[in-house]
Point group: C2
Chain length 192, copies 2
């Protein structure tokens, strides 16, 4: 059994969302599973001096156009959310409070769809809890243990060098961006 | 006759170099020509708050790995230059001092190869002049007219929203990055 591939993302990241719709099939094609690992881009930005795309002159305007165009190019449903970006701390905590891998991935997919297709503000805790509840899940976003555990996951991601979203690690090889999926596909067949 | 596509780049940009090896063939496939337009990333960074990739924590280390891996993926010769990045003011001036489009593109290709394959420091004016001379070209990098003309080109690029390298504009539609070539290919067939 080959090792799972690590899929790091921020719940508020458009390219993270686009990647989330394709990552499982890409991995499965090569007999791999995926470990979903939400992180907080804001924390990474503190390390790299980065900023949310919409806030950057010139690049921000381009990015908004590129989100939509990339979604059309790949045939992925996408509606630019507003507000954007939002805090994804509650979503992250809800995710990591669940113990089952399958439940985590199920919640993550649903949160992405809620935000990037249905326009539900997943930056608001009640919305996160409602979405989880509709899936029959009962995440905990308030306990100190969950808060600490989430912080530890985010710090572990940073320690792995994760500075953007999506960020995929295959057998130690890092790939940043949905636009590296072709390279990941070849790498999973054979490192080059 | 369809309009040429605009190819903006910085001579010190790895992804600009990778794009330069494929852009003419991509355009020709769709009956288009390419207008090569070197710019100065440093000037764009002043507008966006950006910085050269190698200077950014985490992202810089990743970028160096990605330059090499992307070159291998596409089968493009690449040797990480040192020093990197370098000032490309002299290269830009030499380019814009030439009046013929063909001479410009010929010099640009040769400068990219010199820097990214042969390890010649094109940040040094004498090297730029020597490379041009070997092609039978006699660029002027000292006259005030050329300096002013180059500055005007760089400012015009910024006014068009060019914040990165490579940056390609097809009939008004902007594409940033070598990793958007597939989207450009489809757009040239039919806007989507």
């Amino acid at each position: 059994m080959k090792a799972p591939i690590d899929f790091y993302f921020d719940f508020s990241s458009p390219y993270g969302y686009l990647a989330s719709t394709k990552i499982d099939a890409l991995a499965a094609k090569h007999g791999r599973s995926v470990t979903w690992r939400p992180m907080l881009l804001g924390v990474a930005f503190k390390a790299t001096g980065g900023a949310p795309l919409p806030s950057i002159p010139l690049k921000g305007e381009y990015a908004k156009r590129d989100f939509l165009r990339s979604a059309r190019f790949y045939g992925i449903p996408y509606k630019q959310p507003d507000p954007f970006p939002v805090s994804t701390v509650a979503a992250c905590r809800a995710f990591y409070s669940l113990s089952q891998t399958d439940d985590r991935a199920k919640l993550a997919r649903r949160l992405f769809t809620a935000y990037f297709v249905e326009g539900i503000n997943i930056g608001e805790s009640p919305n996160v809890l409602k979405i989880a509840g509709a899936l029959g899940l009962e995440p905990d976003i308030e306990s100190q243990a969950v808060k600490d555990g989430t912080r530890a996951e985010v710090e572990a991601a940073l320690a792995k060098g994760v500075f953007g979203s999506p960020y995929i690690i295959v057998d130690g090889e890092p790939f940043w961006g949905f636009d590296r999926f072709e390279q990941i596909d070849r790498w999973l067949r054979e490192p080059f």
